[in-house]
Symmetry: C2
Subunit: 198 residues, 2 copies
């Protein structure tokens, strides 16, 4: 079965947080669907309702927002073992503000809003799993707020490297520059300055 390896990866991830029995594992996995996205294709476009949460098995994505001047702002990246969604849209089932775009050929396990609500009823332990997933995402978002208002560009880059190990070799430099809030020119200068100090 094509989906066995991705599902093993998801299970290994889950088991670090909660212990599910065999019946629960089967039920949970039966609701997940493997999906493949080509590089540059969209998992979600702003304006559509986010009906699915994605567990990234392989590949990477960016979550970005286009402001009224048509400028793109990267809210976050996602890579192996991260979850991806426009959570506000997913919770409220209202149109999304964010775009989710694959940056590499990307494989995900998809879990629909409807199925997840049912799973919460049938496997209450999943409440804990998703509480902890969201808790970690929240702490990470708060760190980013603090960095945006108080850290230097170099510190924001260090934080990017820590948060997304290896991703600096996988996504275009201008996107990393955008994520940390500097121009590509400044980013390039800053990086060579940092290298010289090593």
């Amino acid at each position: 079965m094509q989906s066995i390896e991705p599902q093993k990866q998801l299970l290994a991830y889950i088991e670090r947080v909660v212990a599910l029995n065999d019946v629960e594992v089967q039920l949970f996995l039966s609701k997940t669907q493997i999906e493949h996205f080509e590089a540059k294709s969209f998992l979600l476009k702003a304006g559509k309702v986010c009906r699915t949460q994605y567990f990234i098995v392989k590949g990477c994505i960016r979550t970005y927002y286009v402001d009224e001047n048509a400028v793109e702002h990267i809210v976050q990246f996602g890579m192996e073992n991260w979850w991806a969604a426009d959570l506000q849209s997913f919770i409220t089932q209202q149109p999304a503000n964010f775009n989710l775009q694959a940056l590499e050929p990307t494989a995900v396990l998809a879990l629909s809003h409807q199925d997840l609500q049912g799973l919460f009823e049938e496997i209450p332990k999943l409440e804990r799993l998703f509480r902890i997933i969201i808790q970690n995402a929240y702490v990470s978002a708060q760190q980013r707020i603090v960095e945006n208002i108080s850290a230097t560009a170099e510190a924001r880059y260090e934080s990017f490297l820590q948060r997304y190990p290896g991703l600096d070799q996988r996504v275009p430099q201008y996107m990393i520059a955008g994520y940390i809030g500097v121009t590509p020119q400044f980013f390039s200068k800053m990086k060579s300055g940092m290298l010289k100090q090593l």
Copy 2:
């Protein structure tokens, strides 16, 4: 009993999310302690471990961060029916980065880390409650990230007013200016400009 009214307020808040039976209500409330903080006193200081989550019954607080140049940055405010903690410190039981300071005489219901872990075991429905609380906090934090990187100061102020109804009349203007990331002088000019447009 002094704590009856605050506890009713907490219960009304909880019941909007999950239904607890009488035994669960009694158990949950038995773990909460009413605490009072004078204006300017601290619920938590950076460097200490955050051992408590606070449900704000009355009053308001700010969560702020002091950078290496001794500049204060307001991460968020809290007011009636908000929860307050340095969540990263609370989760990891490592020293906090944030200070939590009362801006008015403030009454809270305090719930210790240890008691909350026990409650999660005894009342699994609380996992759902805290999943939803944190989910909302996460969406709000993501909005703030987007605003910080893309919105005008005026839009950030509108968002502050929406997020914290009435709080603009309760906290010093320079703190609101800091929260939205402008100088007090600019903030004052911007507000009079906005008033003229009404």
